[in-house]
Subunit: 363 residues, 4 copies
């Protein structure tokens, strides 16, 4: 069972609420011997942290992560790696006035019906704060994949509202702006749009794209442990995600077979509509995916809702919120992709061993 | 670990290859006492079976399913329910000539790299033949949900190539035509299109939509056992699927928060952009999703590929194939949705009990 | 969740009742490429089968096992291996008269309270018939371990009632007598005892011992995936088992530390009180265990019980039963040990790779 | 996969090393709404803590446990409950001199071969320190079982070395002495024995017994999720355990069927050789088990070993150790029993619902 666990061989179990004392995770099954430091993990976490530009929430997350176990002499030991971040700069008073009102688009109403009670401070367990630990764990997975296979995972903002953000793709630009936008020419448009949106008090959706290069062929499994099935599960488990596609995704619907099938030649595949996964198993091509994020539901524009007695009330969410959660989701998508890939390497190694079959391989 | 298993509390483990002796599944954890018969299961399976119209594969699947265990006196007993169907009308000779060639868009190349050997007859384990057992197991889940909660799951063809199939929605029509098309006016267009496509030798993608009505609020979990995360995993595990969306899905990208958030009033939610899931937990609204299927890769139009020695060769797939796998996928999507929902009911009952908290509920 | 599944990376899911149409199992996660045949599996199963001597049940199990999937060209393919044996020579009429009476020492009463209904024919799912599939699956695991590591697993009857059976240990004798007794001098005693017991109509308990030689150091894990914890779970899951010990077992209670701790010297460990497992991880020494089996509860000597209405009734179990279930349990213990060891090799390989750390090793 | 996780529906994932910064656990799947406080958990932990008498280790564990999540307004919320205890009074310097020597009877040698490196401070992950978190989590499970079903779990020292400790059974005495001994007359004997043993520098094994009363019939499952199989796994996962038995245990070996089978009468079962479990499912009788603990391997009496280069060296373990680990294991056995029982209640409820079948029940 895995209410709060993700992964098959290497797994993460996260805990913590947005306004509780701490958030954390336990990474179980991680291989021994990899060098890592708390500072490296923190650096990764800061890419996702709030308070780094005017376009995201103004809560200042310091991400002073501690490694509580599974770590000795600068290396992982093979035993469970526990990470914890004590919450700072949480203002629970922002929430007390809505403790008995169900915020539309939030999990308030559903928690109420599931558990009969809920921690109403800041979204509790459903806050995006939880995703900080995904990024922390993902930093370890990404380092492992890079060191062992040279795998590079890149994610970026593909679209924000109606604005397509990757007409031009300059990988180096992604971290040069607060939007993880790969097109330098697009950045000013995003700034203007976001400034207006913030003023308006509304929020907007976004599309995040990701690509993993260097994944060897053979990771995944044919039926329910499909690599793409686990990627879909991983992405859909991120807060605010409403859609996932691999490769050509929804464009496949209108494609013909002669167009979609990626033919093979001695120098490689012709095209990558498959997005690097065939029959649930990696093909050696780049793995590509896209994830749709809904607009933030926390708005200071008033909305209709009901309270715990079923009475109609108006709701205004103050607090400090991202007008577009999709922006800070970029490192989260990257982290989840790293976790799925590393898990599938270990799963593949369990069944089939370290050494790939000696067969002709098309890179 | 679950290479070939799906589900948390009630799970299915499927086995069998397209051209092996049999396919089957073991349903583990199913509650005791539900009446069911092999004939009921077979009826459900025949909706998915090939050979029922000229628009799908001409292999004649009889689906003579046997219940091997977990069944006594016409009822489930609580012990594992094993189902088996011996394969009939399999023509493996169709495949012998391509046993050393990697069919583009298929799992041949990836199996080769993963396992070092493969059962090349008819796609082996990656054949859509496996999905027959999903429909069989789904028939039990759907009956359970209908009897216990009155839940109704409906799925249909939403689009085939460029043709949108649900401009009009007449639920009763879905099973009146070979396309699971809810719009009677659209059926002739589909017939013409498919006749032309078959003549041409090409294939096309499709979109399948599904909706579950009557699901109580409270099923699911906040983080990694999210109801929508498990739905995404289930859908992406179906052969040929390249994308999944819940509720507004990819349309959320361009939506504003004021537009997307579904406000609440004493008479219910205003809109259902969420698709019936908030924070990973069912809200009591209909659960809605859409699934993108790629076009069949098995074409009689020749394509380029390489053989096991890496040499360029031409490939033509004869055999008997569906020009649009999305059509017969309609009952598969429905079955997977039933399995996920039933599993989440049991998971919810495990943690929170049979009786829902006594709180105001908005239906 | 695993109501009917055992194993972490390579798992078995069994199904079937004693008097249902068939029993079977699905072996999931088995590595590709191992040669095996149905006949080899059947040979292993016949060691456990009834009807081979007058000292066990007279039901004639033919064990005509079929491989339904995961098998191609004489080898495992890496996809799920399904095995099935159709039940033969089942006489359900023997049971109809006790369908409403709870047999003492059986699961009748507990099934009734758990499920509210039960398949009363021959013990249903709780029949030792289920263990035939453990032996079948164990045959694959044992072959894998033997081929890859030269691991030899031996199990034998250590005690039957008051008769100690391994004062002398001649490995070759184990399969020369119907008791799996390693001491040729003990066999006539066992024959006389069992003949008298059968005449008397009573049954008796037994102790089964097992040893695995050649297991490399490093398999297992420190806390909840301990090798010995999984062995204990495996053994206790066999019908009629009431106790399990590893190494010195219950004798450890009265031992001193200086006596129990196995010191190390450059030529190896001094003693093996640990039974080959230290801190949950294999040490490279032989892994040794013992398992206690209760006497069969099915007796033709009348006993007191109640019926489904709670009324007192007398019960006599006719049917064909083993007067000592511990005898035929010998191959089952061996099989479960093989399954646990193979699973732990794969689990270890997942996390730590194929190649052991380059460190001095004491054999 | 569950390297460091235990449980099916409600699970614990523990982390932390003896001399690392902290130990902790995440309890996942716990039902919402139960009142609990950190102080209650700490009280339970102190029963197991060192430094409470001269007969156990002199390290002073304060067990200042913090609840980091899953907790609001004094109640569990249904989200993961994270507990952490920062390690205090750890003296790692005690270990530096043995960092390259394998302590006999410890996991040093096996860790070395598994992981290639190890945290040598105080046994690292294999220290009994880990079990503190089992007791913490067990406190929640025990409270749940007591409140919901009135279940009472009792465990006690059954034997220490050759001294049988429960000739007389006075439940109230168990917590009146530092040995968890239920026989007041035995306590002076234990004191004398332990004083002599400490002087001698040696250690000794022990037997811990436990009993759960009030468990309803129907918990467990027929084959691999057997209640007794999970109890065996739980007990064998405790440090230093070498054997587990349920009910009559190893005495079953020499018993006859007429003696062992517990007949039923309208007023209840006659005897409880089964130990409250029939066919893997609880019968409503008390569940009884016994667990064998080996003597502590950490001795100040010198012993032979080898170092990491395979050279012979002498070893003396200073540090602060229990001369009999079995004593403080009493609350650990109790805790693991509570965790298994609670997990099986939830598992049973998942499949069969809250309400038991309306059948005659023999208490």
């Amino acid at each position: 069972m895995s209410f709060n666990r993700f992964g098959r061989v290497v797994s993460i179990t996260t805990f913590g609420e947005s306004h509780g004392p701490a958030i954390g995770c336990v990474i179980d099954g991680f291989p021994p011997g990899m060098e890592i430091s708390a500072e490296e993990i923190r650096t990764a976490m800061l890419r996702r942290a709030t308070g780094r530009s005017r376009h995201t929430s103004q809560r200042h997350e310091q991400e002073d992560v501690q490694i509580l176990s599974g770590f000795f002499d600068g290396r992982t030991t093979g035993t469970p790696i526990a990470l914890v971040v004590y919450n700072s700069d949480a203002r629970s008073r922002d929430y007390s006035k809505i403790s008995t009102r169900f915020r539309p688009g939030h999990a308030d109403y559903t928690y109420h019906h599931k558990y009969g009670l809920r921690d109403w401070r800041g979204g509790g367990r459903s806050s995006a704060r939880e995703t900080a630990m995904r990024v922390a764990a993902g930093a370890l997975a990404a380092k492992y994949l890079a060191q062992k296979f040279g795998i590079r995972i890149t994610s970026w903002l593909g679209q924000l509202g109606e604005i397509v953000c990757d007409h031009q793709f300059v990988a180096e630009s992604i971290d040069d702006n607060p939007f993880f936008c790969p097109d330098p020419a697009c950045v000013p448009k995003l700034e203007d749009y976001m400034d207006a949106l913030r003023k308006e008090g509304d929020s907007v959706g976004a599309l995040v794209r990701a690509r993993a290069e260097g994944v060897p062929p053979g990771w995944g499994a044919p039926v329910y442990a499909k690599l793409d099935s686990d990627l879909a599960s991983a992405m859909m488990s991120i807060n605010a995600v409403k859609g996932v596609e691999i490769g050509a995704g929804f464009e496949s619907v209108a494609e013909k077979g002669t167009e979609h099938r990626d033919e093979l030649t001695p120098t490689g595949f012709v095209g990558n509509h498959a997005g690097g996964v065939l029959g649930g198993i990696s093909s050696g091509q780049p793995i590509t995916l896209a994830v749709a994020f809904k607009p933030t539901s926390s708005l200071r524009l008033p909305g209709r809702t009901v309270d715990a007695d079923g009475q109609p009330v108006e709701i205004v969410t103050t607090g400090r919120h991202d007008p577009c959660v999709g922006i800070r989701a970029v490192p989260i998508v990257e982290a989840m992709m790293a976790l799925v890939l590393m898990d599938h390497f270990l799963l593949h190694r369990a069944q089939c061993g370290d050494v790939a079959p000696q067969t002709p391989r098309i890179e």
